[in-house]
Amino acid sequence: MSAIKKLFGILWSLMGIGIIPLVIMQAMKEIAAKPSEENWIFWSIVIVVLMPIISFSLITFGVFALKGEYDVLE
């Protein structure tokens, strides 16, 4: 179980890192296609609020998992 937890730790960290360019590229694409107020508001909320929370928590959580911090919780 510990090995699986550690292995998944890599996945969570990669997800946390990968989400940043993915979201920014999608936002740029959609705003360029339709630079409306709606688009700006929506993507601002996603980039300023949601994305940092998801990225930070997944990366940190992944690192902790990789280091075996959660191995004792059974």
């Binding site: 969570w12 929506f42 959580f61 998992a65 959660y70």
Partner: protein
């Protein structure tokens, strides 16, 4: 004799716990009520406080305000959580109640955009932020306070009463809104009657403050304070120390994020889907949600109590997994039940009425089409075309392609489909009770008393406020992205489910892998 003394002491303990639960729950319920009336009346608020030139922008502005109300919650969690760990639970969640009640009452009194211009949305926005801040501090305080009064082994059961308040608060908000709307009529309600539910809050808060004033401080906090074990810096201790931060992260990613999206999908997205994708009439759609909530609410206590017996983890995880697997089929069935393309029209019962009236400088033409279908479903479409009397203005609007009618579609379901719809929503409410019923006990048990209020409030409000609170905004957006052209129906009305399904799936995997199913004794540490 000794046995009698023990029995009396146990009875007193249960009675005292009940008083604590009642006093805490009533206050929390009122806070949720205050918070929800804003969201439920989002459309009217957008008309009253935001420029009407662009209805979509106005609605989005309200949704953004709605989101701001949610996004600010984690800050309230930090601010009041810290205060609660420093000075005590009782006074902190008394302050949050007063702030919430005051700002809700004030929203009911703010003059509209027509009267004070830009100040109207600015004031409403500020008051909404205050509401979010207060709510951020309330829940953690109430859950901690109740848990610290509860006997070990029954924490899931007792805290589940606090868990019912969020749903009952929504139920109360919907009930009051429907009652006021029915009493005053739709037009008066849209004009000024919508203010009544906000103003009514002051009365409810007054009663709740009176009850809470008479409560005593949490026994665990008092003991800790007496022993000089309170934290000097709860924020630093909660989030800078690795041992605690890792628990905050597991609580967020493995529990509250998934729980938040399941909750908001089952209660809010379901209502939005009924009204916007299925076009179910306002009163009927609200009744469907209200009845499902009322029937489903006792299950919070059932799953809370069950979690005392079999642990918190598997109940929450089962709720997430079943939700992930069944959302698409449930929403497909909801959509099909109201989809007029699946129904046979009774053509001879179709009526079309057109009225024309001059209102100010405009001619308003209203066309109402009523259709009846073989299964008893009725459909009403109201098209309102406003054309300026001034020919130059009319030509200008026509050139900009802005002379389009406002269209309102209303589907009223027959009795059997109405009950089916209640059933579909009820299933989702059951998922909500599975993920939400045990979560307060789960959260209070994984953090030590000295920093419990701060530590449990943050993941709860990020999970619910940010991940959950953004469900309506993100899901609406995902559906809109499948709309081939403005005015045409979306190609995939279920596309909005992708967001809650994705978040709940990740949360399920993390929860299953990393969360322990053991409960602890929650001693003062």
């Amino acid at each position: 004799m000794a046995q009698n003394v023990t029995n009396v002491s146990q009875t007193e303990e249960v009675s005292s716990t009940r008083r604590v639960i009642a006093a805490s729950s009533v206050g929390t319920l009122i806070e949720w009520y205050d918070f929800y009336i804003f969201g439920t009346l989002a459309k009217i608020i957008s008309e009253q406080f935001f420029p009407k030139d662009n209805p979509t922008a106005a609605l989005l502005a309200t949704l953004a305000t709605f989101a701001a109300g949610f996004v600010i919650r984690p800050f309230g969690a930090l601010f009041f959580g810290r205060l609660g760990d420093l000075i005590g639970r009782k006074y902190t969640f008394l302050v949050t109640l007063v702030i919430m009640g005051g700002s809700t009452f004030a929203i009911g009194l703010v003059p509209g955009y027509k009267t004070i211009g830009f100040f109207a949305p600015a004031i409403v926005f500020a008051l909404r932020l205050l509401q979010g801040l207060a709510l951020g501090g309330e829940y953690g305080g109430a859950a901690t306070y109740v848990a610290e009064h509860s006997p070990a082994g029954q924490r899931g059961f007792w805290t589940s009463f606090i868990q019912t308040t969020a749903t009952l608060g929504l139920f109360l908000a919907l009930g009051v809104i429907l009652l006021v709307r029915q009493t005053l009529g739709v037009e008066t309600f849209s004009d000024w009657g919508w203010r009544i539910p906000f103003i009514l809050s002051s009365l409810l808060v007054g009663v709740s403050v009176f009850i809470r004033m008479r409560m005593s401080e949490s026994p665990m906090f008092v003991k800790m304070k007496k022993e000089g074990k309170t934290s000097a810096n709860p924020l630093a201790e909660s989030f800078k120390k690795k041992d605690n931060l890792k628990m905050v992260l597991i609580a967020l990613l493995g529990a509250t994020a998934g729980q938040g999206v399941v909750w908001y999908t089952g209660q809010f997205y379901a209502l939005s889907f009924l009204q916007n994708a299925c076009n179910v009439e306002f009163v009927q759609s609200n009744m469907i949600i209200s009845i499902a909530l009322l029937i489903g609410t006792p299950f919070f206590i059932v799953f809370g109590a069950l979690s005392d017996k079999i642990g918190r983890k598997y109940i929450m995880m089962a709720g997430m997994l079943i939700a992930v697997l069944s959302y698409k089929p449930i929403y497909q069935m909801m959509y099909d039940s109201a989809n007029l393309k699946n129904k046979i029209e009774v053509v001879e019962k179709t009526t079309v009425e057109t009225k024309e009236a001059v209102k100010g400088t405009d001619t308003v033409t209203t066309t109402v089409t009523k259709k009846t279908f073989a299964d008893g479903t009725t459909f009403k479409e109201t098209k309102k075309l406003t054309v300026p009397l001034d020919e130059a203005k009319k030509a200008e609007l026509a050139a900009k392609d802005k002379l389009k009618p406002e269209t309102k579609k209303e589907v009223t379901l027959p009795q059997d489909l109405y009950y089916k719809m209640i059933g579909y929503v009820l299933i989702q409410v059951i998922f909500v009770t599975m993920v939400y019923g045990p979560i307060a006990a789960f959260l209070v048990e994984i953090f030590p008393t000295r920093i419990r209020y701060t530590s449990m409030s943050l993941p709860y409000h990020i999970g619910n406020g940010v991940f959950g609170g953004l469900v309506p905004l993100i899901s609406t957006r995902l559906v809109e992205a499948t709309r081939p052209a403005p005015g045409l129906p979306p190609a995939d009305p279920l596309a909005g489910l992708m967001y809650p399904i994705l978040i709940a799936s990740v949360s399920f995997v993390i929860g299953m892998l990393y969360i322990s199913n053991k409960t602890n004794n929650m001693d003062v540490e």
